[in-house]
């Protein structure tokens, strides 16, 4: 006998976590089901971390509408929840006469999409704003609203608030089968058990097409698009003031240079269609291409040290718009094909998905209380624990720095290991604290971090290091 939930949300990325959080306002029993060991460990983790205004989306599309709505919701949510973000503004740089001539049409589109702040900028203004760009740019489209955010904290904040408000989080639960239950309910079959629900939301990202197939639909196919990125050391941060974008083509928004909320600078992404949904390796070709692009835009950046290189997969489909559909009779909402703006669109998508569930008959009565969430702050724009005399006075562990490059204190590591959604893996700890994310990549603190996480979570170090049991603890 399994528990019967009112709603099950499959996939705990930004979108799934936002849907679960939105549902937790209502008097419902909900479960958030995730195949991986942590929230936000898939596509939500490895992307450009741009908070898009949607200025360049297709006017009239669902994506545009939900991005606009999401923007307003995130603007309210992120400061309250302690999600790092910085309003930097974006500059779409024209390097050729053709590109310069394309700018007015892009501006027109931005205005149509409701981004009224967008305007053209002269080459002179561009170089005033970005003196380290290589000479030769002809002008730019300036989008003051384009911003950056912390893609690690956001899904965690959304999921934590959902859990705080009663949602059950099931990690390590890949949905293998969806079986019909009694009275039109569903039974989700995982490797080690099953759970039941009356309504179902598919937010499975790269796997949203496979879940959709389990429910009998063949409306779209996810075609993973790999994006490789290079992250530069913090000393590069002073070289870049805005999000620097090329004029987009039909296929991709192109390679951009952007600061990160951790004080680094990111260069990427590439765009390469791949058949494999797990292929998150970087490649010699991809990194080489980025190097070339970087040299062509900002050679000064390429003289700084590289802190990290990574790749993420965007769940692109054969369609250009989001694949969000309600199957009323099935009590099923598919929120798939969120191709490249899932993080920016997540809260708008969540609101829309819950509205659709209501249309399908889910009774939505608000609870008396919706508990707020406050996440540990890991951005550079605010005060971190090591900078706070008050926090250190209250708990000296906030003054005991373990990760020197990112200045992560013991106190923060202990907090993350015992959080409402605790860090159980090294990557999970990294995303919660920035530990191991710095220029030395663990030269100093790798061993200590492994020892700490093993001790605090009661796991053997060999497990954290992904070594077989026979290697001993």
């Amino acid at each position: 006998m399994q528990i019967m939930y009112d709603v099950a949300v499959i996939g705990a990325g930004a979108v799934g976590a936002a849907v679960a959080r939105e549902l937790s306002r209502y008097d419902l029993s909900c479960v958030l089901v995730e195949a991986g060991p942590d929230v936000g460990g898939g596509t939500s983790r490895a992307n450009t971390a741009i908070w898009h205004t949607g200025y360049d989306a297709n006017p009239g599309s669902l994506e545009t509408k939900l991005l606009r709505r999401s923007h307003a919701l995130l603007e309210e949510f992120m400061p309250q929840a302690g999600v790092p973000f910085e309003r930097l503004g974006g500059l779409l740089v024209a390097w050729t006469e053709d590109q310069r001539l394309a700018l007015p049409a892009l501006l027109e589109k931005a205005h149509q999409n409701g981004d009224t702040d967008a305007r053209l900028a002269s080459a002179e203004e561009l170089y005033q704003r970005e003196p380290h760009l290589i000479p030769g740019a002809l002008g730019a489209l300036f989008v003051p609203g384009e911003s950056i955010l912390c893609t690690f904290t956001l899904p965690l904040a959304l999921a934590t608030q959902a859990v705080l408000n009663g949602v059950n989080l099931q990690l390590d639960f890949p949905v293998r089968e969806i079986l019909p239950g009694r009275d039109g309910t569903y039974l989700l079959q995982g490797p080690a058990g099953r759970l039941g629900c009356r309504y179902l939301v598919n937010a499975a990202g790269l796997y949203s097409d496979e879940i959709d197939r389990l429910l009998g639909h063949r409306d779209f196919t996810v075609r993973p698009r790999r994006g490789e990125l290079i992250v530069f050391d913090k000393f590069a941060r002073s070289l870049v003031n805005h999000i620097l974008m090329p004029v987009p083509t039909a296929i991709t928004k192109g390679v951009l240079i952007s600061p990160t909320v951790y004080g680094n600078v990111m260069l990427g992404p590439t765009a390469e269609d791949l058949p494999d949904k797990t292929e998150t390796s970087t490649s010699e070709t991809g990194l080489g291409l980025l190097w070339q692009k970087g040299m062509a835009i900002m050679p000064a950046l390429m003289r700084e040290e590289v802190t990290a290189a990574y790749a993420g997969l965007r769940p692109a489909t054969e369609h250009s718009d989001y694949q969000i559909r309600l199957y009323r009779k099935q009590h099923y909402v598919c929120a798939g094909g969120i191709r490249s703006t899932g993080v920016s669109g997540c809260m708008g998508i969540a609101e829309y998905v819950v509205e659709l569930l209501g249309d399908a008959g889910l009774e939505l009565s608000l609870k008396a209380e919706f508990k707020p969430v406050r996440m540990p702050y890991i951005g550079e724009a605010g005060i971190r624990p090591y900078q706070s005399a008050e926090m250190i006075a209250a708990n000296p562990d906030y003054g005991r720095i373990v990760c020197h490059c990112e200045r992560v204190s013991l106190g923060e590591i202990l907090d993350a290991a015992h959080a409402m959604i605790p860090a159980r893996t090294l990557d999970g700890l990294r995303r919660r604290t920035r530990v191991l994310q710095g220029r030395c990549q663990g030269f100093h603190c790798h061993a200590e971090v492994v020892a700490l996480l093993a001790r605090e979570t009661g796991q053997p170090a060999s497990g954290l290091m992904m070594l077989g049991a026979e290697d001993g603890a």
Binding site: L287, T307, A389, G399, R407, F443, V450
Partner: protein, 425 residues
């Protein structure tokens, strides 16, 4: 908050920092504070459990931890104040630094500052090695902490990237952890392990003989989903790619000074060493700020760092007495196969470099070459070498400093191969 005042503030309690503190004390400077971000003073030697430390400064072979303990104990006996678990976070003034520690945040103000923050190995990402990002990728530094400090499991079969002296430390550490070594891979045509003294050679001969060295090859891919499953290496001559199965990769060498604090303070960095530019008296471009040890140019052995610290101390004492700083500084620039030279500034008021020679390193094996120091078209010094070895420090005589025009152009250090048409003018 009002800053805490002291005479000399030393950042880093490794061999350079502690040796400087001890020498300052001996010279009669009483108010010294040494800070270190680690929980324990002693620096990197604490993590190197092999012998061979202290030959030049203490004239006795110690193990790394023994060497570190000896310095820490001496500092304790001398009454030198060491603040551990104290991270310097930035600059508040020319010689005032901010810190964070379990005791809180604050400021330390000194009449002179010595930066002795050491160096680190560049990790896989900085070397842009493509592939997946599984567990099992180390540097020698992280490996030593896994094995000796925290006694954590490492893996079963490793590939070592690099074949220089530090790679030998990685090899010994892996042997201690009972990890077999599938290969040592170096891009250079042969390994660069030159034993600093004979006993080590005897000890290491057997271990080294059992380790396959793949020369002239580069690691081109890391494979593995959650854990390293293998690496691809590419032969530089033929382009041939082969796969080596392993669950551990150790990146060794490729040093970069821990220059972040120096850079935050606006100190001029040398393009070659990437450490703060410094003259033979260990003076940087910022008045009152000295630098010593591996911060200056990446890893030398601990005894060299300690000698530098000891030497820097004398110049710090002089500065406390006379307040003089370098007015004119003539930078030394390097070219071609020469990676860096140290000291990289010549100044009128400075003495000769430590042990009366400049230290330089080359990027490749060179035979029958001449290293020349130019000022404009004028050759100030020419020194022939039968061979120059990469990843080892070479010595350039220093007596030519006296003939340099200190008001003149920058100095160029250039390598000429035999048969080149250049001649000494």
């Amino acid at each position: 908050m009002a800053p805490e005042h002291t005479g000399v503030l030393i950042v880093g309690a490794g061999p350079a920092g502690l040796a400087a503190a001890l020498e300052l004390k001996r010279l009669g400077v009483t108010d010294i504070i040494v800070v270190d971000r680690e929980e324990e003073a002693g620096g990197t030697p604490r993590l190197c459990h092999h012998t061979g430390f202290g030959l030049q400064d203490l004239r006795w072979p110690y193990s790394g931890p023994g060497y570190a303990r000896r310095y820490v104990r001496q500092a304790g006996t001398a009454g030198i104040e060491i603040y551990t678990s104290t991270t310097i976070t930035g600059w508040q003034g020319p010689t005032t630094l901010t810190y964070t520690s379990p005791r809180g945040t604050g400021q330390l103000s000194a009449r002179a500052v010595l930066l002795a923050t050491g160096c680190r190995e560049r990790p896989r990402s900085a070397r842009l090695v493509p592939g997946s990002r599984p567990q099992g990728v180390f540097t020698t530094g992280s490996l030593q902490r896994f094995v000796y400090q925290h006694r954590l499991p490492v893996g079963r079969r490793a590939v070592i990237v690099g074949a220089e002296l530090v790679s030998l430390s990685a090899l010994m550490t892996l042997a201690h952890a009972r990890v077999s070594v599938a290969a040592m891979v170096t891009e250079l045509p042969r390994h660069q392990i030159y034993f600093p003294y004979l006993p080590v050679k005897w000890v290491m001969a057997d271990l080294l003989r059992r380790t396959p060295i793949v020369a002239g090859a580069r690691i081109s891919l890391i494979v593995g989903h959650t854990r390293v499953e293998g690496v691809e290496i590419r032969r530089l001559d033929s382009g041939r790619v082969e796969t080596i199965a392993c669950d551990t990769v150790v990146f060794t060498g490729d040093w970069i000074p821990e220059h972040e604090l120096a850079r935050l303070g606006g100190l001029a960095l040398d393009a070659g060493t990437r450490g703060p530019r410094s003259d033979p008296d260990f003076r940087t471009s910022a008045p009152g700020v000295f630098a010593a040890g591996n911060l200056l140019r990446g890893a030398e052995t601990a005894d060299i760092c300690a000698l530098e610290g000891r030497n820097a101390a004398r110049h710090i004492r002089d500065f406390l007495n006379d307040g003089l700083w370098l007015e004119r500084a003539l930078p030394l620039r390097v070219e071609g196969p020469i990676a860096w030279i140290f000291p990289n500034i010549v100044s009128p008021s400075a003495g000769r470099p430590i042990l009366s020679h400049f230290t330089f390193r080359v990027r490749e094996f060179c035979r029958d070459v001449q290293v020349r120091v130019y000022q404009g078209a004028k050759v100030l010094h020419a020194q022939s070498f039968r061979r120059l070895l990469p990843n080892d420090s070479m010595r350039l005589a220093a007596d030519w400093v006296d003939v340099a025009d200190l008001a003149g152009e920058a100095l160029q250090v250039v390598l000429h191969r035999a048969g080149s048409s250049c001649s000494i003018g």
